[in-house]
Subunit: 190 residues, 2 copies
DNA sequence: ATCAGAATGTGATCTACATCACGTAACCAA
DNA sequence: TTGGTTACGTGATGTAGATCACATTCTGAT
């Protein structure tokens, strides 16, 4: 099974689990399929799970005043996503997650993650490492926001995710960069 | 000893260690004192440690083109700071850390942290939780950057750290907000 | 094949904030 | 006390990017 192997390879980079331990770990993940445009987490929802992407592309985004959208993350295969603030604090979602393309994900509940972390030191190690990577990436993006103009951030993005340019509409790239779609469009020519 | 109790209370919120375990944990921290203005990590340095603040106030910042400074974090008592990118990837520092006031810190090496995490599940749990908190805060700040104007970000900052207003010079607050000191000054009146 | 609604491009104008320039006040060290 | 550095305020002007407006192309559903 494709999904199982993808997850196994993903965690093997950081944690060593026996075949048996991994099977137990994997048994807590629920496979789910979504169509392009479907909502996985909507603002106001109770958030119980985080999602490991097997195929397709998701976006995690915030909507301001029902008007402006800011994308926090594009989630591609082997990426994790959720509204972590809502998930950890057990508060209603303020972040939305939906599907840019058809997508398959593995869903892991907060309760199960904590149970697995408590039961297996190596799993706790994996999740520490994963969150650490996310923290470092988030700091880097914050710095880029403060330090760079839109053009530079755009070029950084294309280097970081070359696939994205043809995969997602430009106005979503603009929403990730925190810029209007018009300004992004004008960057092409200049 | 003040520092020991502060650290003990700090980690007790998340992890349960026996007295003996905690003593062993604590034995890996090296107490250090710094004077106002002293540099703890300078750009280009090899970074071996992270720092737990006991007293005083540090800043972690990036300098662009030897001109502009952007503050990633003010570190107050019970906060942790370092250049985590450099620390985890064993690359030269790009972030500086120095002292806004006289400060006492506890220094923990990367090697010792990893040793302690590997040896004690509860310690690994603590560091996962801590990084998770940092990640959530960093995401929140990124969103605020994209979504809010300077005035709103300034008001958020004053709510988050009320002490800061009288503790640190205004141009450092401007550097945290990613705004010129002139603009920050003008916000007072409007 | 057709039509409606997205997605994209592009001009004209507006605005928040940066930058430059200068003055004054506060804080030190000799 | 004095002189030098740092902090802070404030006016004048410049500019990146937002917003508004409209045209064009693409796409997907019937």
């Amino acid at each position: 099974m494709e999904a199982k192997i993808l997850l196994q390879q993903h965690i093997a980079k950081t944690a060593s689990l026996t075949e048996e331990e991994f099977n137990y770990f994997f048994s807590h993940f629920k496979p789910m399929s979504f169509k392009k445009g479907q909502t996985i987490i909507g603002a106001g929802d109770k958030v119980d799970c985080e999602y490991f992407v097997i195929s397709g592309c998701l976006k995690a985004f915030f909507i301001n005043d029902e008007i402006k959208m800011y994308i926090l993350q594009f989630a591609m295969p082997t990426w994790w996503t959720s509204d972590y603030t809502a998930l950890y604090n057990q508060t209603p979602a303020t972040i939305n997650v939906d599907c840019i393309t058809d997508a398959e994900v593995l869903c892991l509940s907060n309760t199960d993650r904590e149970k697995l972390c408590a039961g297996f030191h190596q799993i706790e190690h994996f999740f520490r490492w994963r969150t650490n990577k996310g923290y470092i990436a988030s700091q880097k993006r914050l710095l880029s926001f403060m330090n760079n103009n839109v053009k530079t951030r755009y070029e950084e993005l294309l280097i970081l995710y070359p696939q994205l340019y043809n995969l997602v509409p430009k106005h979503l790239i603009a929403a990730y960069l925190g810029v209007s779609r018009e300004t992004l469009s004008r960057l092409h020519n200049s």
